[in-house]
Amino acid sequence: MTGPGAGYRTRVGGADGVETEPTSDWTFAWVDRVAGVARLRTGNRAVSVVVEGSGSEWFVTLRGRRIAVSVLSRREQLLAKAALGSRSGTGPVEVTATLPGLIVAVETTEGSDVAAGDPLLTIEAMKMQNEVRAPRAGRVAAIAVAAGQTVGTGQLLLRLE
């Protein structure tokens, strides 16, 4: 899709859902955010849907069916991918940078035990502080970066075991 929506990717079924191209057969007529109602049109047909949410997380109720939709900017896509990609597995895990940026803080030390979701370090990217969290419980075996360091996408940050 080109035009105003080009910067966003949509996932139907939420952040873990299926990447879906918004239909180009239909056009968007209007949204009333207070009422939570939007109107879509195709040719001479139109349908009203319920639209709720904000930022990246939305629900669209179409013909009575409530559908979770994630609308992700490029940055949010990278974050979502990181969260998704590191969720499984039990062996050693290499935590890598999912976006280029500056390490502004390292919040753990080598040998520490961490729980899933604990903050590990903070990367500043696109003027946003992005917390990198433990994808699973484990021990921090090695930290490969230090505060003040610039990292590139895919660069090793630390290793969990």
Partner: protein, 512 residues
């Protein structure tokens, strides 16, 4: 004053119920120039039904057992507010002979079938014996309770069979048994469920009739021996033995079958000193033979369907009959016309086995227009109370014939927009387009065999949802975030590229 009522039968009536049915009864009371008294639990102090009535009385804590099922609290509320009569609605204490008697002993009028009728027909096993004696066809099976210590032999009933609770209703305490060796385990489960739901673990056993339609006859009677059958309702679209859709007339009932149903319904009513409104439920098998299931001695959830095809107000007639009025000639000669369908809108996820959903209704747009009736009592923005029934609304349509009523229902469902939680509207919208529903050739197995957990999302639906969400986000960003607006312009739309300040200025301009 109603033209068909010679005098105002009561000055003030207490409605011993909540939600949409309390609102619906209050409406009729208002039309009859009778003052209405609502009752409310602590969880309902702000509820819609309290504000639909002239007066409202608190009756206790949120738990239904302490409030809407609390006989002494309800009687005290009626005495305190000076009510002369009590309408119980459906559910809660509507079929409680104990409550009906307590109302009468307090010197108040009970609006409904007499306590004696409730006692005789309230127990399904006792009713089964009584109507069999009156030569009404019943489902083949046992006439006594199933004894857990002395199970009936394999030849006692044909399998597959059905265990049912004697005190039952709403599908609870029911178990399908496919073979005799499953009986013991199924019985234990059914007894547990019946004991928890009704305080009575008595279970009986019937042959399973399958395929079958669930068809019920609406009765209205007075204290002068008059009795009228007001058509039938087909309630075969069910999940967990609970109704989702009702329509009148039934697509499976011919005039000849209707005559037989009416004759049986009259015989059932004849076993008691019947008055007021009640429903006789039957199963109709593939050959058109009918079997008595039970008699509900109260107003039904789906009574509105009958009101739409007869033009009568059943609640008004319950009130008039309770005051001793005879049914008018117009009622006794009532001839149902056209077709009506009701869908029940529940806070349930049809894509997850119709499991109840907790949450808060946000968007709440109701259908209206020609031939549409909506009974509801939802307050958007207020969390649903988990203590009570998850019924949100009843949407009914009426038209000269069934195809027109279905088309009208489709249109009404498209107008109805509910946000905040999943409802069963997705099922209903699917159903109205299903050829098996359009043809009318459906039975009680329809939901299980055709819906399951619902169809997969189509590529078009996914792409439409993606479009709506993406454009909503872009709209927010164009207006610096989802700022709530008090006034709305043309459909309240955000103009692309307009900042919040510009919009505010425009709205200020509009206000001057």
């Amino acid at each position: 004053m109603r033209k068909d009522s010679p005098r105002r039968p009561f000055k003030r009536v207490l409605i011993a119920n909540r939600g949409e049915i309390a609102v619906r009864i209050a409406r009729t009371l208002r039309e009859m120039d009778i003052e209405s008294v609502a009752v409310f639990s602590d969880a309902d102090s702000n509820a819609v039904h309290g504000q639909a009535a002239d007066l409202a009385a608190p009756i206790g804590p949120a738990a239904a057992s302490a409030s809407y099922l609390n006989v002494s609290a309800l009687i005290a509320a009626a005495k305190r507010t000076g009510a002369q009569a009590v309408h119980p609605g459906y559910g809660f204490l509507s079929e409680s002979a104990v409550f009906a008697r307590a109302v009468e002993e307090a010197g108040l009028t009970w609006i409904g079938p007499s306590p004696g009728t409730q006692e005789l027909l309230g127990n399904k096993l006792a009713a089964r014996r009584a109507v069999a004696a009156a030569e009404v066809p019943i489902v083949p099976g046992l006439m006594v309770a199933v004894d857990a210590d002395d199970l009936p032999g394999p030849a006692a009933v044909d399998y597959p069979a059905m265990l049912k609770a004697a005190a039952g209703g709403g599908g609870r305490g029911m178990r399908r048994v496919d073979a005799p060796e499953q009986l013991a385990a199924a019985l234990a489960g059914a007894r547990r469920e019946a004991a928890a739901a009704f305080g009575d673990p008595t279970i009986y056993l019937e042959r399973l009739i399958e395929p079958a339609r669930h068809v019920e006859v609406q009765l209205l009677g007075d204290r002068h021996g008059n009795l009228v059958c007001l058509g039938e309702r087909d309630c075969s679209i069910q999940r967990r033995h609970q109704k989702l859709i009702e329509e009148s007339p039934s697509p499976g009932v011919t005039p000849a079958i209707r005559e037989e149903l009416y004759a049986s319904a009259r015989r059932v009513a004849g076993t008691v000193d019947f008055q007021s409104a009640a429903t006789v439920e039957f199963l109709l098998d593939a050959d058109g033979s009918h079997y008595f299931l039970e008699m509900n001695t109260r107003l039904q959830v789906e009574h509105g369907v009958t009101e739409l095809v007869t033009g009568l107000d059943l609640v008004a007639w319950q009130i008039l009959v309770a005051a001793g009025e005879p049914l008018s000639a117009a009622v006794l000669e009532a001839n149902p016309r056209g077709h009506a369908i009701e869908v029940r809108v529940y806070a349930e996820d049809p894509y997850a086995g119709f499991h109840p959903v907790a949450g808060t209704v946000t968007t709440w747009r109701l259908p209206s227009g020609p031939g549409v009736r909506v009974d509801e009592a939802v307050r958007p923005g207020v969390p649903l109370t988990p203590e009570y029934d998850p019924l949100l609304a009843k949407v009914m349509t009426q038209a000269p014939d069934r195809p027109a009523a279905v088309a009208r229902l489709r249109r009404a469902l498209d107008e109805m927009l509910v946000g905040g939680l999943q409802t069963d509207l997705g099922f209903h919208r699917w159903l109205v387009d299903h050829p098996g529903f359009a043809s009318g050739a459906y039975d009680t197995g329809f939901v299980a065999s055709h819906w399951g957990h619902g169809p997969e999302l189509t590529a078009e639906e996914a792409a439409l949802a993606a479009l709506a969400a993406q454009q909503a986000r872009l709209s927010d960003e164009a207006s610096n975030g989802p700022m709530p607006r008090r006034s709305a312009g043309a459909a309240g739309s955000t103009r692309p590229g307009e900042s919040a300040w510009a919009r505010l200025a425009r709205e200020e301009g509009l206000r001057r």
